[in-house]
């Protein structure tokens, strides 16, 4: 059984109140939401559009803000992207691990590499960086530079 894809009109009807809806290209529709309303937008997309599958959550550092892109899809195979912007100095957002369980692991990764705090996440441990990596150093942020005086993990020089 194949379902027809979503069109811009249907997504605008369901998601219009969360922000600007635009067709980025065929089969890919973006909703520019805000960080307070991302959870509501995802609930709505699940209920009204059948978007019950998270493909990926992307985080982009544009230099000014941090952008989160929640790429959702479902049996209709249309990718609905919900976008939120976070200020760099206050990068908190509500976790969606309870709505979309696979999102939890993406959130851990973004917390590790980009320094975004997902509030409500039960287990924001490190997932990629080493255990002895210093706190509040986020290597994938554009303005991050390695501090040569700091120890970033591995084996200390004296030990070798």
């Amino acid at each position: 059984m194949t379902q027809r894809g979503l069109d811009l009109e249907r997504v605008t009807q369901a998601m219009g109140e969360f922000g600007l809806v635009e067709q980025v290209r065929q089969n890919r529709i973006r909703v520019a939401s805000t960080r307070e309303r991302v959870r509501d937008a995802i609930v709505r997309a699940k209920d009204r559009l059948g978007c019950d599958h998270v493909i990926q959550i992307a985080c982009v550092d544009t230099g000014k803000v941090l952008e989160l892109h929640y790429h959702l899809t479902g049996a209709h195979r249309t990718v609905v992207t919900i976008r939120a912007e976070l200020p760099r100095d206050d990068s908190r957002i509500a976790s969606v691990h309870d709505l979309l369980p696979p999102a939890g692991i993406y959130e851990r990764q973004m917390h590790d590499l980009m320094g975004i705090r997902f509030e409500g996440h039960p287990d924001l441990r490190r997932i990629i960086l080493n255990e002895d990596w210093p706190e509040s150093e986020y290597p994938l942020r554009k303005d991050w530079k390695m501090d040569p005086t700091k120890f970033y993990g591995g084996v200390r020089k004296e030990a070798t």
Binding site: N130, E131, P139, M146, A159, T160
Partner: protein, 168 residues
Amino acid sequence: MKLSERLVRWARLKSPWIILFNSGACNACDIEILAALTPRFDVERFGILAKGSPRHADILMVTGPVTRKQAKRLRMIYEQMPDPKYVIAMGACGASGGVFKGLYHVVDGVDKIVPVDVYVAGCPPRPDEIIDAVVRCLELMKKDMERGGKTWRIDEGTEEPRTEAATA
């Protein structure tokens, strides 16, 4: 020299056991090592066996740049090996970090963590070059045995023993 010593010496040169360790490689070097172990290249004719435990091994083969996560583990594996122990660093990454040199999550070459005896060039090295490296490592072992340890390879001014670069 006692008979038992001569026997140990002969056995060690006839059948070096190696352990493979991936310290953050892209897997290309590992594939080439596995190719070298298969019947087409057949390193077992030199008595080389790949073992699962560092406590059984004479030669440690390290593939790839050393990531910060793997650095401590590599050090631990090296310390578990019985003396005399030898290390072969595979490929461009093992020698200097290769394309990953200077990244935030790597500490570059293998020699930053453990002393390396033989470097193999290539990205990845061919199985023939890997065999050549192991044979050169055996020659190095023989020389070390004759001169009683690795100290003869230390150059004046440097503290590390001189190493062998295997290029085919």
